[in-house]
C-alpha cells in the first residue's frame, strides 16, 4: 500500500516536472548549481524555479533551511565551493562580503540580465553583488474586531499601542493583547534595532566601527520594549516569529509588529479560526517618541553567485537563478501573494500594503555594515537581563558595548 502511494507520489512529481519543461528556457548546456538559502514560501518558490533548469548535463540542487547562515560561509569558502549561490538578505550578505566569497555580477547582467530592473541590483562600490527579488519589513498587524470593541483606532505610534493595550486589558477583552518576536537572541536584538532607529539613534560613530548605543535613545528604546512586554505573554523571551504567529492564530493577541512575509500564513485558517482570519488586518509600521522615521527596518532578499567556482558553473548558476525570478512566475496567484516581489510585473496584493507603507514613510534599510552582525549578536545576548528587570538600561547598554568591543577586536574591526 505504502509502496503504491510512494509510486504515485513520485509519478506525480515527475509529471509536474515534465509539465514545467522549463529547462529549455534556461539555456544552460552544462554546469552544476547548488543553492543555499533561508526557508519560507517565497524562497521555496525561487528554489523550485532554479531546479526547473535541471536536465541533461545540468545538475541543480537546493538546500533551503532556517540555519542557512550557519552553513553558507563554510560551504562557499572551499575552492570549488559546495554552494554556487547563496540566497541572502541585507544583513547576511555582509558575512559573505567580509570573507570575499561572492563575485561581481556585472558581466553576466550585461549578457543575460538586461531585463532586470535597476532597483533589483544590489551594488556595493559600483559593483553588483546580488540580485534582489523581494522586499520585506516589519509592520503593524491588528485585529479589527478587538480594536473596534475597545473603541480604539489602529495605533500609529508605539505610545498609541500601549494605550490601546491598556484599554483592551482593562475591558477584559484579552489578558495579554500585545504580541512580538521578543525571543532572546536575534529576534530581541532586532526589536531593539527597530525601536532605536525609531528614536533616531545611530549605532556607530560615523565612518568607524566604534559603537555608541549607551545614550538617551538607547535607554528610551529599552524602556518602551519593557513597557510593551508588560502586555505580552509572560513567556515572551522564548517567542520567536513562529511562536508569535502561533499565538496570533490562537486568537490570543490583538496588536503586534510582525514581518510582512508572515502575513500570508496568518490569513490561513490552518491552526486558526475563521474569526481570527477575517479580522486580521495590517497597516503601516508605527513610529515612536514623536519621530517621523518608523521604528522598523526595510529588508531585501536576493541571490548571489559564489566566487570560488568555475566560470561555467557560475554562468549556469546565474541563468538558473534568472529563470527562478522570471516575471512569468507571478502569473500564479498563490506565488504573487507570497511576498512583496521586486520582479517586473508585480502588482501589489492586499498583503503587501504594510511593506509598501513602510517604504513610503522613509523607513531605513537594515544597515549593510561589516560589523553590524557583531552588534546584533551582542544585543541578543545581553538584552534579556534588562527585559527581566535584573539590570537598569545604562548597565545593560554598557554590557552590550563591552561584548561588542570584545568581538570586534577579535574580528579585527577595532584595535
Amino acid at each position: 500500500m505504502i509502496k503504491k502511494t510512494l509510486m504515485a507520489a513520485s509519478l506525480a512529481l515527475m509529471a509536474s516536472a515534465a509539465s514545467t519543461a522549463a529547462y529549455a528556457a534556461c539555456d544552460i548546456s552544462k554546469g552544476r548549481v547548488n543553492v543555499v538559502g533561508n526557508e519560507f514560501p517565497a524562497i521555496q518558490t525561487i528554489g523550485k524555479g532554479a531546479q526547473a533548469c535541471a536536465g541533461d548535463g545540468v545538475e541543480v540542487k537546493t538546500n533551503l533551511t532556517a540555519d542557512h547562515q550557519k552553513i553558507n560561509v563554510a560551504g562557499m569558502s572551499s575552492n570549488p565551493a559546495e554552494y554556487t549561490s547563496a540566497i541572502v538578505a541585507n544583513s547576511s550578505i555582509v558575512a559573505l562580503m567580509n570573507e570575499d566569497l561572492i563575485r561581481p555580477l556585472d558581466d553576466f547582467i550585461a549578457k543575460y540580465g538586461k531585463d532586470l530592473k535597476k532597483n533589483q541590483l544590489i551594488s556595493i562600490d559600483g559593483k553588483v553583488m546580488a540580485v534582489a527579488f523581494m522586499a520585506n519589513a516589519q509592520h503593524l498587524v491588528y485585529r479589527k474586531d478587538i480594536l473596534a470593541k475597545a473603541g480604539v483606532e489602529p495605533p500609529k505610534t508605539y505610545e498609541d499601542m500601549l494605550a490601546a493595550a491598556k484599554i483592551i486589558r482593562d475591558k477584559g477583552l484579552m489578558q495579554n493583547p500585545v504580541g512580538g518576536a521578543y525571543a532572546a537572541g536575534w529576534n530581541l536584538a532586532q526589536e531593539f534595532n527597530n525601536m532605536y532607529i525609531g528614536y533616531g539613534g545611530e549605532f556607530f560613530k560615523p565612518g568607524t566601527a566604534e559603537v555608541s548605543i549607551n545614550n538617551e535613545q538607547g535607554a528610551a528604546a529599552l524602556k518602551m520594549m519593557k513597557d510593551l512586554s508588560g502586555y505580552m505573554n509572560p513567556d515572551f523571551l522564548t517567542h520567536d516569529s513562529n511562536a508569535t504567529s502561533a499565538e496570533w492564530k490562537a486568537g490570543n493577541v490583538a496588536i503586534m509588529n510582525m514581518w510582512g512575509s508572515r502575513v500570508g500564513p496568518l490569513k490561513d485558517t490552518e491552526g486558526s479560526s475563521q474569526e481570527v482570519v477575517d479580522n486580521t488586518d495590517i497597516a503601516a509600521p508605527m513610529t515612536v517618541g514623536g519621530g517621523s522615521i518608523p521604528a522598523t527596518t526595510l529588508w531585501w532578499d536576493g541571490w548571489t553567485v559564489s566566487k570560488n567556482t568555475s566560470d561555467e558553473d557560475a554562468e549556469a548558476t546565474f541563468k538558473a537563478m534568472m529563470n527562478a525570478i522570471n516575471p512569468s512566475i507571478l502569473g500564479d496567484d498563490e506565488i504573487a501573494k507570497q511576498a512583496v516581489w521586486l520582479i517586473d510585473g508585480y502588482k501589489p496584493t492586499d498583503a503587501a500594503k504594510g511593506v509598501f507603507a513602510a517604504a513610503e514613510m522613509g523607513t531605513k534599510p537594515y544597515p549593510m555594515r561589516p560589523f553590524q552582525g557583531l552588534l546584533h549578536t551582542a544585543l541578543g545576548a545581553e538584552l534579556p537581563d534588562y527585559m527581566q528587570g535584573k539590570e537598569d538600561a545604562a548597565k545593560t547598554l554598557a554590557d552590550v558595548e563591552a561584548a561588542y568591543i570584545a568581538a570586534a577586536k577579535e574580528k579585527g574591526f577595532l584595535k
Binding site: Q69, K70, V73, N90, S91, S92, V94, A95, M97, N98, D100, N119, Q120, L121, I122, S123, I124, D125, G126, A132, A135, A184, G185, G207, A209, N233, P234, D235, F236, L237, T238, D240, N252, L298, W300, L342, A359, T363, P365, P367, M368, R369, P370, G373, L374, T377, A381, P384, Q388, E391, A402, A403, I405, A406, A407, K409, E410, K411, G412, F413
Partner: protein, 325 residues
C-alpha cells in the same frame, strides 16, 4: 587516537591563539531597492595580501582567553576592586558570559549527577524485584527517555510546560496564579532544566546498575537474609558495595556529559536564563559574523574544565586499579 582526538585538539588550540587580521575599512556607496547610501565595507584588495601571507590570522597569544567573553581577568579584577559586598562582587561576575555559563553549568553538574545516580539505582532495584514476566516491558519503558532524541524530548516538554500547554496550565490551576510561567522565571527555568537532565539521564544509570545487579553473589545475599538482615540492610551492606565500581563509572560519564549541557538549553529556548559553555560556542558560530577564535577558546576551556572535574574520579580509579594489581 592521533587522527580523531589529537589533531582536532591541536587545531582548536591553534585557532584560539589567533584572531582575524586588522580589517582595512573603506567607505563606499551601496545601492539597492531602497536607494543609495554611503557605507563602510572591507577592502578586499588590501586585505587579501595580508591574508595570504598569514593564512592562520594574526597571532593573538592568550588575548582571546582573557577578553570579556572568556576569563575576563580585567573585568573581574575591576569588580573586585570596586566591590561593596561579596554578593555584589558575585553578581558582577555572573554578569560576564563565561562566569554566567559556569554558574549554571556547575549547579547543573552538582545537582543532576548525584540525582541521576540515586534515581537510576532506585529504578534498577525496583525493576530487579519485579516478576520476570513484567520485567521486559518495564525495562523498555524505563529506557524511553534515553531513546528519545534529546532535542525532541526537550522540545516536547517545552511545549507541555508552556503557559498554554498541559503541564504549564495545570500548574497555574494548582497554584491558582494565571501569570505563573515556568519559562519567565530564572529559578523555575533552572529547576525545569535539571528535572529534564535527570529524567533524560536516569535510564543510562538504570541500565548500568541493572546489569550490575545481575552479577550479585546470591550466596552473600542469602546468608545476609539468614542473619536476619532487612531489605534496607541488604541494599546498604551487600548491593551498594558490590556495584560501587559501576557508580564511579556512571559518575565519570555523567560529570562529563552534564558539564557539556547543551540540548536542553536550546530545546527549552532557555538562553535568557541559563547558558553553558557549549551554548556559548554554538552562539559564537551561529551569529551572522562567526567568531571562530572565540569559539575555539571556549572549546579549550571546556576541555580543561572537564579535566578538572574528572580529576578526583580519575585519581580514585587509578588508585583502585593499583591496589588490585
Amino acid at each position: 587516537m592521533l587522527l580523531f582526538i589529537a589533531f582536532p585538539i591541536v587545531s582548536v588550540v591553534t585557532q584560539s591563539l589567533h584572531t582575524a587580521h586588522d580589517q582595512v575599512i573603506v567607505e563606499v556607496e551601496n545601492c539597492g531597492p531602497f536607494g543609495c547610501e554611503k557605507e563602510v565595507t572591507v577592502d578586499q584588495e588590501a586585505t587579501r595580501k595580508i591574508r595570504e601571507d598569514q593564512p592562520l590570522g594574526k597571532w593573538a597569544g592568550l588575548s582571546v582567553y582573557l577578553d570579556r567573553g572568556h576569563l575576563a581577568f580585567q573585568e573581574v579584577a575591576e569588580s573586585w576592586k570596586t566591590r561593596d559586598s561579596l554578593s555584589g562582587f558575585f553578581s558582577a561576575i555572573t554578569n560576564l558570559p563565561f562566569y554566567r555559563a559556569m554558574s549554571f553549568t556547575l549547579t547543573f553538574v552538582v545537582v543532576v549527577t548525584p540525582m541521576t545516580i540515586i534515581l537510576g539505582f532506585m529504578i534498577a532495584v525496583a525493576v530487579n524485584a519485579l516478576n520476570q514476566k513484567l520485567k521486559g516491558f518495564v525495562i523498555f519503558f524505563s529506557l524511553l527517555p534515553m531513546i528519545v532524541t534529546p532535542l525532541i524530548g526537550s522540545l516536547i516538554l517545552f511545549w507541555m510546560i508552556d503557559s498554554r500547554g498541559i503541564l504549564g496550565n495545570g500548574l497555574q490551576w494548582i497554584f491558582d496564579d494565571p501569570n505563573l510561567s515556568l519559562k519567565a522565571s530564572t529559578g523555575l527555568t533552572w529547576i525545569m532544566l535539571m528535572v529534564y537532565g535527570i529524567w533524560h539521564a536516569a535510564p543510562f544509570a538504570f541500565v548500568v546498575f541493572y546489569a550490575g545487579l545481575q552479577t550479585l553473589p546470591q550466596d552473600t545475599l542469602e546468608s545476609a537474609m539468614i542473619d536476619g538482615a532487612t531489605r534496607w540492610q541488604r541494599i546498604r551492606y551487600v548491593i551498594i558495595p558490590h556495584i560501587m565500581p559501576l557508580v564511579t563509572f556512571v559518575a565519570l560519564i555523567q560529570l562529563m556529559d552534564n558539564f557539556r549541557v547543551f540540548e536542553p538549553i536550546v530545546g527549552f529556548s532557555a538562553e535568557a536564563h541559563a547558558t553553558s559553555l557549549s551554548w556559548i560556542i554554538f552562539n559564537d558560530l551561529g551569529g551572522e559574523t562567526r567568531l571562530l577564535s572565540s569559539a575555539a577558546a571556549t572549546s579549550v576551556l571546556t576541555v580543561i574544565g572537564v579535566g578538572i572535574l574528572l580529576s578526583p574520579v580519575l585519581v580514585r580509579t587509578w588508585r583502585d586499579f593499583k591496589v588490585k594489581v
